[in-house]
Amino acid sequence: MRNAARGSLLDIGHLKPEEIVGLLNSARRMNPQKPRPLLKGARVLLLFYEPSTRTRSSFEIAAKSLGAMTTLVQAGGSSIEKGESLLDTSYTLRALGADMVVVRHPNAGAPALMSRHLDIPVINAGDGMHEHPSQALLDAYTILRHKKTLKNLQVGIIGDIYHSRVARSAIHLLSKFGAKITLCGPPEFLPEVATTLAPNLHITRTVEDAIRSADVIMLLRVQKERLAGMKISLVDYISRYQITSSRLKLAKKDAILMHPGPIIRGLELAGEVADSPQSVILEEVRNGVPVRMAILARAFTRRRA
C-alpha cells in the first residue's frame, strides 16, 4: 500500500482550492485546435468498466491533442469479463507500459484502490455514486466563462442527487469557493443527510425555490427505472420538478442552465429549455476537452516529481 502517485485526481473533496484554480488556469491555456506535445510518447490507458460516450471520447481527444497514445480497455471483451480483479487488471496495464490510467468504474472508491497499488497517476473518470471530478472542473470552467466568480453565486442543483457522482463533485467544488447552493429533489433522490456534505447547503422540495434568483441551474439526469420504486410517479415527477420555460423565467435573466448529459428531453427538462439561449449544455461538452487536457498534463508533469 502506498499513497496515490502525484498527479492523480481521485476526487474534488480532498483537492485544495489552489489546486483547482491551477487546473482551471491551465485549462484556459489549452486549445484542442492547436496541439501541444506535452504528453508526447506517453501512454494513456482508458479503463472503462461502464458505458460512456462523452467522458471517454473527451479524455481520448484530450490525450491525443497532447500527443499521447491512448488505449481503450472496456469491461466487455476483456479479461475483466473472465473475472480478473481490478488490481490484477491494473498491474497488467502498468506492465504494458501505461504512464497513467483514466478509470470509470461502477463502484465508489475503485480509483482510490488502484492508486494505493500503482506508481502511476490514476484519474477518476467517475466512480459509482462517489465523484466525477473532471465533470465538476469542466462545470466550474464553464460557469467562469459566464460569471466573474463562484463566490456568492446562487446555484440550484436539481434532480437525483443521491445517486449522482456529478452532484457530489460539483457540491464539493462550488462549496469550496463560497457558492450558495440549493439542492432540490424528492426525498428518495435527496435525503436530508445531503446537507452534511459541505458547508452552505440548503434543501428544498419546491423546484421554484431552487430556481428563483439563481445564477446557475444545474440539472441532473433522472433515470426512469429509479422512479419505478419510488412514491412519486413519473407524471408527478415531471409536473413537480421538470424545468420548463416558465419555471426558467424565475431565475436571474443572465442565469445559465447546465446538465452533465445525457439529457432526457421531456423528463428533467422540457425540450425547448435544452435548446434555449440560456442552455450551456453543449458548451460543457466542448469545455470538457481543454479541462481534461489540463488534468492529463498535470498528471504527466507531476508524476515523477
Binding site: H105, A108, G109, L113, M129, V193, L197
Partner: protein, 433 residues
Amino acid sequence: MRQGSHSLLIKRGHLIDPAARVDAPMDLLLRDGQVAEVAWPGKIKGSADEKFDARGLIVAPGFIDLHVHLREPGQSYKETIATGTAAGAAGGFTSVCCMPNTQPVVDSPEWVAWLQKPERGAVVNLFPMAAATKASKGAVLTDYRALQRAGAVAVTDDGKPILGDEIMREALRLGAELNFPIIQHAEDTRATEHCSMNEGPTSFRLGMRGMKASAEASIVERDVGLAQQFNGARLHVAHLSTSDALKVVRRAKRNKTRVTCEVTPHHFSLSDSDIADYDTNFKMNPPLRSGSDREALLVALADGTVDAIATDHAPHASHEKEVEFERAAFGITGLETALGLAITKLHREQRIPLTRIVELFTVGPARVLDLRGRGTLTRGSHADVTIFDSKKRWTFEAARSRSKARNTPFDQWQLTGKAIATIVSGRFAFRAD
C-alpha cells in the same frame, strides 16, 4: 486431551473473579484440570509441578469469546481451527465459540462432532455453535436435540438472520424446551441489500448505500416479542451495534425477558467516520455505526446492559479484501486485539473498572451459554485462567498475527493491556515471550 496428574501454582498475582466477588491479591493452585485452591498470598502449602510468578499481573478466569469464525470445514484458506485458536490463546481466550456459516454449514450432529475432534488441533476449548435452520436457509429447523447432544452450545444462522416470524417462533419455542440459546444476527436483510456500510453522512459522502440502524432494531424488537411468548426461551443478540437495538434489550431485561447481548471491540472503538480511503479493513457486518451509537454502547457496556464482549473474529484471505469496497467480504479479525482495545478504550478512556471488563470477558459470556464451571475460578471450576498485564503498552502488528488472516483495522495500533499467559485445563496454551 492431556494425560496424567499435573499441578500449577500461580502466585503473587492480583485475582479478579467477578462471579466470586474477588478483587484482591491471591494465589491460585490448579490441579488436574481444576481449580484446587484459592488463597491469600503465600498461604498455599505444598509443592506444585510448575509455578508461575504473576507479580504485577491480573489473574482472571479464562476469557470466553462467544463469536468467532474459524472457517472449518471448507474454508481453511482463510483460517483453520488450529490457527484461529492459536490467535485466541495469544489474545487471552481460553474458550471460543465457532460459528456454523462454513462450507458446508454446520447443521448436523456429525459436523458438530467433527469440529471437536483432537485432529482439528484446537489449542483452547472449542464450543461449536450449530445452524438454527438447515443450511441456514431459514426454512426448516435443524435437530436441536441431536445438535445439543453432540456438543453444540447454541444455534444461530449468523450472517443469515432468521427473518420468518413463524420459524423464529418455532426456534425459540424449541429452545425454551431444551434450554438451548437461540442466537440472532439481527439484520433485516430485506432492507440492507447492496449496502456495505452504515447509513449516514459518511456513506453519503463516499457514495455508498447505507444500512439503516432500524434494520437491526426492528429484528431485535420482533425477536424479543417472540421470546416473551415462551417461558424459558433464551434469546441472545449477536454483535449488537445500535442505540435503538440497545433500548429494546434494556426494556426487555427490565421486563425479565431472558435476552442477552454481546458487543464487539470494533463497535466500541470505531465509528463509521473512521472509514477513510475505502479501506476494506473497516468493512464488517454489522457495520461501524455513528458516533452516537458508539457512545450508547459505551454506556451499556458500563451499566451492565451488555452481557459480553465478543470479537466476531472474521478472517479473510487478502484477495477477498483487496478489492472494491462494495465488493469486499464483510468482517475483520479480532481475537488478538480484543483485550488491548477493551483496556485502552473502556478502562483507560472511559474509566470502566477492570472488574467490569473482566466480567464482560468471563462470567458474562459463561452465563449467556450456561457454561458450568467456567467464567469463574472458585474451587472446583475448570482450570482456565487468563493472566494479563493491564498496564503493558504494545503495538499490534497484523503481520505477526497467529491468525492466517491480516484483515484488521488495528494494524500498528498502540494498545495498553496484553495477555501474558493463557492457561487451558491447567496447561499453558500461550505464554508471552
